[in-house]
Symmetry: C2
Subunit: 254 residues, 2 copies
DNA sequence: CGATAACTTGATGTGACTCAACTTAAGTGG
DNA sequence: CCACTTAAGTTGAGTCACATCAAGTTATCG
């Protein structure tokens, strides 16, 4: 296990990292990289695992390497709402706080580049250039969360559904097609259950289903299976979203 | 105008700052304070002024000393939504971005401790301890925005109205009463128009008005005038909000 | 292959938006 | 300082999108 080519070997872990360019790590100096290599370790969580419960003491942070994590908040009356989704290269966990206000749950199988929270906090003090990058990332995230809040607030369910589908289509643009799929149209992969999508959009599974079926009947999309859709008419989808294409692309970009 | 006691004199501006303790400035060293004193200046904006338009190049940043600023986003179809409110000691403006995604508008008369954006960005590079404080503040803000999004998403209009009133009551707890007000009950001051409140809560002025009147008929509040309410029954208001008191206090705290 | 969960479809009720009239407050100029 | 104007807020009636309850259908997994 001391082979330098072995991805599990600490020595080369970060240099072969698939999300390196998009994570905060890319500004780290060689010395900082070596230290990150020392304090980080790969951890995997199965789909459905609650990585961190709401209100629990937060002790791990890190970057998502693979999979999707949902951030949710349960209110007093019991119903919980998804307040965010984290994708590969997104930073995971809550720095500089005793506990997490939100629950983190693996929506798919998840691979994490995990670090001890206080260990990483100490690292940041020594490496302001990484903390600077972290601040920039969080400012972008703040804008994105506000933008998403504006969408879920002021739009119809159909507009939200169309927005989500289009944004996911842009995100999964460069992913491989489903096996056996011959079409030249883009395939949108939404790795969430209907319930999770509904929670994220602030609606119910029933209403969500109706809207998806309506889009399918209108030949805007074709339902391949519960989590895959063929995009038949992108501009119609944009029209249904009520947003301009530029705005949608900006949302997807983050 | 070179008198050291003169608040307009640069020399003593920051040391007499009323929001110093709550702003990021409080971690600045004496040397850093001197530099902040040099690059900052007080600016005032009249109620209704658009301090920065959506998509405009952002050139000024700073702290709000007095007043309320609304952050809003207008979508393609024209309707705009308030995605945030900024209060005294909150940081204003968008660092590390060419333009602002949102419009900043003075909801009341506003006093700002303004700085040139790139000037402050350069200052942060030299003073990582302030940038660190900025990161912590933004992480708190991120949680608060997500929490608010969860509230506006999954609750009825009445619950949102009650939440807003209660949170504002906690915020204005230590403010002076309206002149001539004899009651011992707390007075909630909401310095926003019905339209602005409606935009913030994701509803319409009509529906908002109906809910406020319902609360008044139920003797939960008494309407003093359009922007002032006497809080007659706090626990009933909490009950209407659908949130636990602790959650509401946490939201108000930020 | 049977059991359980996820998803879809249908029928029904209602909260909130819309359109419209009215009332009250806030500015403005004579 | 008061009449006039205009904006802000309230109230009412009608409609509709969406939630809810319920049943059926299709996946998923042991």
């Amino acid at each position: 296990m001391s082979n330098a080519a072995d991805p599990a070997c600490l020595c080369g872990k970060c240099t072969s990292c698939v999300i390196f360019n998009r994570s905060v790590c890319h500004v780290a100096s060689p010395e900082a990289m070596a230290q990150l290599n020392r304090i980080s370790h790969i951890r995997k969580f199965a789909r459905g695992t609650v990585i961190q419960g709401q209100g629990e003491a937060s002790d791990i942070v890190g970057n998502i390497i693979e999979g999707v994590v949902k951030l949710s908040s349960a209110s007093a009356n019991g119903d919980d709402h998804i307040v965010g989704l984290l994708f590969p290269s997104d930073f995971f966990g809550r720095l500089f706080a005793e506990e997490s206000r939100f629950a983190y749950e693996a929506v798919t199988d998840v691979t994490l580049c995990a670090m001890n929270k206080s260990g990483f906090e100490r690292f940041l003090i020594d490496h302001p250039e990484v903390e600077h990058e972290m601040l920039k990332a969080k400012l972008d995230e703040l804008d994105a969360v506000r933008e998403w809040a504006a969408i879920t607030n002021g739009h119809t369910t159909m507009q939200r559904v169309a927005t989500l589908l289009f944004v996911f289509s842009l995100r999964s643009r460069n992913q491989r097609r489903e096996p056996g799929d011959q079409s030249s149209n883009p395939v949108v992969h939404v790795p969430l259950s209907r319930r999770d999508i509904a929670d994220y959009l602030g609606t119910t599974p029933e209403t969500l289903s109706r809207n998806i079926q309506t889009l399918a009947r209108a030949k805007v999309i074709r339902i391949i299976n519960a989590k895959h859709f063929e995009l038949l008419n992108a501009s119609e989808l944009v029209r249904h979203s009520g947003e301009s294409r530029e705005d949608l692309e900006r949302i997807a970009a983050r």
